[in-house]
């Protein structure tokens, strides 16, 4: 009997240890899905539950989704603290993040990783205050953030010719950053610090075909949404267009030999010209593809 009790106590100890381990797993090692908006913004700054830029907040968009809202109007540099705050909150310590970005959100996350990706970050407890800042967890630091990969919908990291010609009815300071020459000189797009950028490129654009070279989604052309390197924007198309170099899938150089930025891979090319740039407040356009991918793989 005594040995039976002993083995029972042993079992209890094992159970307690496992329970503690389980508790640790659920309490401290958590994955998050961070969504970084593009031009125009709309969500309340620092309110990670406000998905008004994207669509209904109840929509599935990756595990523990958070909306990293910036105003979508100011210079990238001016608003960058909001993104760093979010990354500090949710992507440090034992917590890890998947990132999804739209349009100028590409410029924002690329800038963040290149400029600050190797900086020392305090590990945070993921309980933000009203401004979106989190308190330090244990006072220790780490280099950079914990990011598994980045999904990019209609990325404007390479700028937009609409900014080159001042085509938007409302002018923002951000538009100066979105000029193609400026966007491409703003930071080193090849420096993702080892993270893959999955590029989703739409081609349902007609309105600005005289301005945006090659295929476009009505706001950005393939040279940007496909992550094509170079100091200025080029003209890239779907394979069905014989008179224009193809935007290739994956990481391969484009037809014509221009390299993509390092660690940038074209995950989706809109051969059917079915996706435009706009979310329409309902996770639409190219964002619908990234949302599906996040729902499936950001877990």
């Amino acid at each position: 009997m005594r040995s039976g009790i002993r083995s029972l106590l042993k079992s209890f100890a094992v159970i307690a240890a496992l329970a503690a381990a389980g508790g640790t797993l659920t309490s401290f090692a958590t994955n998050y899905s961070l969504w970084v908006n593009g031009r125009t913004g709309g969500g309340q700054l620092g309110n990670y539950a406000d998905f008004s830029y994207w669509g209904p907040s109840g929509t599935s968009a990756g595990v523990n989704k958070k909306s990293v809202n910036w105003d979508g109007k100011s210079h990238i540099a001016d608003q960058n603290y909001l993104v760093r705050n979010a990354l500090d909150c949710y992507c440090t310590g034992s917590n890890w993040c998947y990132i999804a970005v739209h349009s100028a959100g590409d410029l924002m996350i690329g800038y963040t990783l290149d400029m600050y990706g190797g900086s020392s970050r305090y590990k945070k407890t993921p309980s933000p205050d009203a401004s979106g800042s989190c308190s330090n967890s244990d006072g220790t630091t780490q280099t950079g953030w914990n990011i598994k990969w980045v999904d990019v919908a209609a990325g404007a990291g390479g700028g937009s010719e609409l900014a080159n010609v001042g085509a938007w009815a409302t002018s923002y300071a951000l538009d100066q950053d979105l000029k193609t020459a400026t966007a491409r000189a703003l930071y080193n797009h090849n420096d993702t610090r080892g993270k893959i950028f999955y590029m989703y490129a739409g081609a349902k654009g007609t309105l600005y075909s005289g301005i945006l070279p090659g295929q476009d989604d009505e706001a950005v052309a393939y040279h940007s949404s496909g992550g094509v390197s170079g100091s200025g924007g080029g003209s890239y198309c779907n394979p069905s267009d014989w008179f224009c170099n193809d935007l290739t899938l994956g990481t391969a150089a484009t037809e014509g030999g221009t390299a993509k930025w390092s660690n940038h891979t074209v995950a989706f090319r809109d051969d059917a010209e079915a996706y435009n740039h706009y979310t329409n407040g309902n996770w639409q356009g190219v964002v619908s593809l990234v949302r599906s991918d996040m729902a499936a793989n950001a877990q």
């Binding site: 389980g22 968009a61 001016d78 914990n146 010719e161 080159n164 000189a185 100091s231 499936a296």
Partner: protein, 426 residues
């Protein structure tokens, strides 16, 4: 056959064991719940059926819909159950592909540290002085497109400092035959680029765009019009910020317009020590390090890039410094990582050239104050045998952290996949 006494003992045992059994059952149920949560993502509002309309490489498409999963879960050997398991397997297969991609890309990318990279990874940073050439549909002064005409522009750079100049060119090309068109520059000006809604503090300055083969213009009468701006001497000596150069032109009797933006630093936040004592090199920790002395007036995060060529002038590496520097005389270390040298086998001596950099100003615009550019050759290394350098991959807490986590994701997907394999079909 058990005795009656032993049977009674078992009864006691069962009494003691009941709460632990319950606890164990609860734990298992909780964990299976977590596993279920991991397997079953938040329910999608709309599945990407249309995703099939485009082209996607492996690992980039969304998984099949999970609509039949719950129905099948209650009857695992029914058709619906088989279907649910097949869908689950497809989902985990996709996650496994994604997890492997993340792990492999990270492992390969970080064989060398972020500040010491093969130049092949940075094709658009090999020649920092390469002019930026662009072509865009020409638009009239009213903003409407002028059909059949492309505006062809060039600007030497976007960011400049001190006494640097920047050259611009403008031409118009016909879509029909590609020929450059005769054009007339109506006027051009450079003006401060304020934030929208903010007033300008400096008066605009008129610029001349010419096609006479003199000054800024390379070739006379080639229909490419050129101008040059030196902010320090043309009215912008006090401006730390943006300058917009606007050009109004006329082609085929139609007015058109374009503009260029540049960002200017009048006074550098730190100055290079240009004498021979301002540069040294050493082999430390198996890597080749170049140290450049910098007198820092303004403390902060400095970002400095340099290019490394081999003895034949073939581009080899991009080296970067990105760290905080206090005020005073400091050294910027540009390191060529040992394994990068061992793998790339460049011919020595190596040349460090075209060093540029800036003080990064967090959360303000302009976000940078440029250092003086060190164009051309900065220093040439001594000659070393490759054996002088380490052949080990980069190690750091950051890399270990990533490889551990991303490797764990691969294992989770592999384990889930082996558990989610559907039964063999009929």
């Amino acid at each position: 056959m058990p005795s009656r006494g032993r049977a009674a003992q078992r009864g006691h045992w069962a009494w003691w064991a009941a709460p632990f059994g319950l606890a164990l059952a609860w734990l298992l149920w909780s964990w299976s719940g977590e596993l279920r949560a991991a397997v079953t993502p938040e329910r999608s509002a709309s599945r990407p059926g249309a995703a099939a309309a485009g082209a996607s490489p492996v690992g980039a498409t969304a998984p099949p819909a999970s609509s039949s999963r719950d129905a099948g879960a209650s009857a695992p050997f029914s058709d619906a159950g088989w279907q649910a398991r097949a869908e689950r397997q497809a989902m985990w297969q996709q996650r496994l592909v994604r997890a492997r991609q993340a792990l492999d890309a990270y492992a390969v990318s970080t064989r060398y540290p972020p500040g010491s990279r093969p130049v092949s990874e940075h094709p658009d940073h090999v020649h920092p002085d390469q002019p930026i050439q662009e072509s865009i549909g020409l638009r009239g002064a009213d903003g409407k497109p002028l059909p059949g005409l492309k505006l062809v522009t060039m600007q030497e750079r976007v960011f400049l400092q001190g006494n640097e100049r920047v050259r611009f060119t403008v031409a118009v090309r016909s879509d029909d035959d590609g020929a450059l068109q005769p054009l007339r520059i109506q006027r051009a000006s450079a003006s401060e680029l304020p934030r929208p809604g903010q007033p300008m503090n400096l008066a605009p300055v008129a610029l001349d765009f010419t096609d006479d083969g003199a000054g800024a213009d390379a070739v006379a009468a080639d229909r490419v019009y050129s101008s040059v701006l030196q902010p320090a001497t043309q009215g912008f000596a006090t401006l730390a910020g943006g300058i917009r150069v606007q050009v109004w032109l006329e082609v085929r009797s139609q007015p058109g317009t374009t503009f260029f933006d540049i960002y200017y630093t009048p006074k550098p936040p730190a100055t290079w020590v240009a004498s021979a004592s301002g540069i040294r090199e050493s082999v430390d920790g198996g890597s080749l390090d170049f140290f450049l002395k910098l007198n820092v007036d303004e403390a902060g995060r400095y970002v400095v890039n340099g290019r490394i060529d081999d003895a034949q002038g073939k581009p080899f590496a991009l080296v970067t410094f990105n760290d905080e520097l206090p005020a005073g005389e400091q050294e910027v270390r540009l390191s060529v990582f040992g394994k990068l040298l061992r793998d790339g086998k460049p011919a020595f001596p190596l040349t460090l050239h075209d060093v540029d950099g800036f003080l990064l100003r967090p959360d303000v615009f302009p976000d940078r104050s440029l250092l003086a550019r060190r164009s051309g050759m900065v220093t040439t290394s001594r000659i070393y045998p490759l054996s002088a350098f380490a052949d080990a991959e980069w190690t750091s807490e950051e890399r270990t952290r990533y490889l551990t986590e991303l490797g764990k994701d691969v294992s989770i997907a592999q384990n889930a996949l082996s558990g989610a394999a559907p039964p063999k079909g009929p």
